[in-house]
Amino acid sequence: MMYALLLYGDENVGPQPGSEEFAEEMKEWFVYTQAVEEAGVMRGGEALQPEAAATTVRVRDGKTVIAEGPFAETKEALGGFYLIDVEDLDAAISWAERIPSVGYGSVEVRPVMDTSELPGME
């Protein structure tokens, strides 16, 4: 099954860019990503820029409304994701618990919808 591991965290918690801890953690991310790739389960993934760089777009009554910032102000923001293809939820959890930020942030494990099983998708 394909899972998205969605990385949430408070942008002010954990190693901050420019610090020595941040450089240390970058190495951990590199090692982790390499492990996901070497296991042959990596299907994609990116780190996202902070919420300050976000723009939210809505179309209501035919009119486009553009707003600065994320769609909802939450304490824990989406900071990035991995897309992995593994056997089951336990395997996905095993990858999630190894993510470098899991000690101070949260990882939401979300199965990817299998569109081939949707009605109308012949």
Binding site: M1, Y3, E87, D88, L89, D90, A92, I93, V109, P111, E117
Partner: protein, 407 residues
């Protein structure tokens, strides 16, 4: 044994075996359960006429598999699962495979990615084989409500990819404690209901005992599983004495111990002995040790209260929870007197202020120190927090009896 009882007994033992095998083969709990159900219904009519086949389990499995094939042919979504099943039609798994499948089924139903209600309901339905109606009645909800809960849980299992496998060894201990937690939750709900009219819901106690003993068979030698089996048996042994003929509560101190179920006590003690020999202590084993000290005492007065107190001390060191601390206070009262116990309880008032048993325990202790007015007030608090009619009636009676003495 009547023919009906014999059938019930076969269904009892075969249900989780058949469902477990089907879940492995079909990789879908809902489908597995549906076709197992159909096979069991067919068996109940066919066997009544033709007699029980030599290998009832094999008959049920084969029938269920045929039903599954019929359904899968009708539903293209599952077409890719068909080939395995068609070729495997005549094969019967051996006992070792069935045992592994049963364990996998239990671990799947008790997966931590499901909420507590879902785990309890699924375990009772899929593993213990209770009908949706029986589970609904045990939890005092309507049958459609329980059916919805079960369907939602099964859909969640499918959508999230919760596996039906025995977990890897590095997470086995954690996951096993989740399984034990579900079984114990079922037992405690049966043993002391949180709502409703009657104090007990024996069906839940019986199912929890069956589940615990099944786990012992499947994971022989695991000390926590042995401890759990010991705990539920030793506690449940008191069931016949816990209520009088009118269904009223009888306190441990006042119970007629000759009514206690000796057979259950012996079985519980045997499990506890086996657990101790493994030399790895855990929460269920410790709770079972306390239950065993009650079970083997001739009277309330001659109970080994100081031993009970020491076990609580060990328990609290490892699992510092307010409810355990409250139970420890009861032992404190027997060893050091009610004043010492009241002191210990007052420390818990912050965290357990909404907990009925804090107030009823406090009331009993206050009464013992002669502070009847305060005791009645504390019991009043407990009445306000209880949702169980039988308990409320009993607590009212306690207040009335104290007032009679005071007059």
């Amino acid at each position: 044994m009547s023919a009906d009882d014999a059938l019930t007994e076969i269904f009892r033992t075969e249900w989780s075996r058949v469902v477990a095998t089907l879940v492995r083969e079909l990789r879908d709990l809902e489908l597995a359960e549906d076709v197992a159900q159909e096979a069991f219904v067919e068996a109940s009519t066919r066997w009544a006429e033709d007699g029980v086949p030599r290998r009832p389990g094999a008959w049920l499995l084969t029938t269920a598999r045929r039903r599954a094939i019929d359904r899968l042919r009708r539903d293209r979504r599952f077409a890719n699962r068909l080939p395995d099943l068609v070729t495997g039609d005549t094969e019967q798994p051996d006992d070792r495979t069935i045992a592994d499948d049963q364990l996998a089924l239990i671990f799947g139903c008790c997966h931590p990615a499901l909420d507590d209600e879902a785990r309890v309901a699924l375990t009772l339905r899929s593993v213990a084989g209770l009908s949706t109606r029986e589970i609904a009645r045990a939890f005092l909800v309507t049958e459609p409500t329980m059916a919805k809960r079960l369907v939602r849980a099964k859909h969640r299992i499918r959508a999230t990819g919760i596996p039906f496998t025995v977990p890897e060894s590095d997470r086995l201990a954690d996951r096993l404690s989740a399984v034990c937690g579900v079984v114990y939750a079922i037992f405690t709900e049966g043993h002391r209901r949180s709502d409703g009219v009657e104090l007990l819901r024996p069906v839940l106690c019986d199912e929890a005992i069956w589940l615990a003993e099944t786990l012992v068979e499947l994971l022989p030698g695991d000390p926590e599983v042995l401890g759990l089996a010991a705990l539920v048996l030793l506690t449940d042994a008191r069931r016949p004495a816990r209520t009088d003929e009118d269904g009223n509560v009888v306190l441990l101190a006042d119970q007629d111990r000759s009514l206690w179920d000796r057979e259950k006590i012996d079985r519980g003690l045997a499990y506890l002995g086996a657990a101790h020999r493994r030399r790895r202590v855990g929460v269920y084993q410790l709770l079972a040790s306390i239950a065993s000290l009650h079970a083997t005492a001739e009277s309330h007065e001659t109970t080994a209260w100081s031993s009970i107190l020491s076990v609580y001390d060990v328990l609290l060191l490892r699992y510092p929870t307010p409810v355990l601390a409250l139970n420890r206070a009861v032992a404190v009262a027997e060893v050091h007197g009610p004043d010492a116990a009241l002191g210990a309880i007052d420390e818990l008032a912050g965290s357990l202020d909404d907990y009925e048993y804090l107030h009823s325990t406090r009331a009993e202790l206050l009464h013992r120190t002669g502070r009847t007015d305060e005791a009645a007030a504390a019991m009043g608090r407990a009445i306000g927090l209880s949702g169980n009619d039988s308990e409320i009636a009993w607590m009212r009676e306690r207040i009335a009896s104290w007032e009679r003495i005071a007059d």
